[in-house]
Symmetry: C2
Subunit: 134 residues, 2 copies
DNA sequence: CGGTATCCAGGAAGATACTG
DNA sequence: CAGTATCTTCCTGGATACCG
């Protein structure tokens, strides 16, 4: 994904929800593109406990590849959700930490997470019912 | 995306946020995978104004291809966010409508949308600052 | 009208190897 | 340790054509 995958390209003629200007669409998709991708949310959650180095994140999200972790933290850094601090020792050490905004986004995201958990069974039931018919 | 793209596959050793069991990760990623994809949110928003037919949705999201609109509404139907009603006239007529759950998810999603709008400028500034350096 | 089927190009992501 | 570079594979999504 990273940047351009989840990018709403047209909101022009929506207009069913009162006052849904195009820039709202773009903002939402921007945030969702970052927060909603495969790994970002997990990394943010991990960092909510405090600063972590690259290898700690790597261990925490066991199945992520080094490449994808790099890509993910770079994206989060670019959008201002985390800071990246390099300590030029040998071997090198890099620490990642949530910014204020990074901590801030946890609030609405947690709300969505709560909703997701609450409606988990409903979604699963709907999915199974749908698949049963074909 | 549809179904498998945004799918968290490992949450095992996260544990920094107090009590973040694996099923929370899966639920969240399930919801985000559906709601956070390129078109679903727009379709949901369009349907928040009431039942709409296929062609109306197609016009509303001008730049979406017929294939992607079909894929999107199918996914939303599968997960129980919308209902699909076929009227066997000639030519055929198909109406889509939000379920209770579909209307319900608008709440947390709107919260995130609001956050996104509020922090829009911050994200953009961070992005530009990051890109300026390289 | 509302799809489905098919083909194709481009990006995403895994595996692997190498570097400051 | 924390990356970058490259190669390859998979899959998404666009274009097009056809069907009930």
């Amino acid at each position: 994904m990273c940047a351009s995958h989840v990018k709403v390209t047209a909101c022009a003629t929506v207009g069913t929800l009162a006052d849904l200007p195009p820039d709202v669409c773009e903002s939402v998709s921007d945030v969702l593109a970052r927060v909603g991708d495969k790994w970002s949310l997990l990394v943010i959650y991990m960092l909510s406990g405090g600063s972590k180095r690259f290898s700690e994140l790597k261990r925490g999200v066991a199945s992520i590849s080094q490449k994808m972790l790099t890509t993910t933290v770079r994206g989060l850094e670019r959008d201002g959700y985390v800071t990246r601090t390099v300590t030029a020792t040998v071997p090198a050490r890099v620490d990642y930490e949530l910014t204020d905004m990074g901590r801030d986004v946890l609030l609405p995201v947690t709300a969505l997470a709560t909703w997701a958990l609450t409606h988990r069974s409903t979604v699963e039931a709907a999915r199974m019912a749908y698949d049963r018919l074909g």
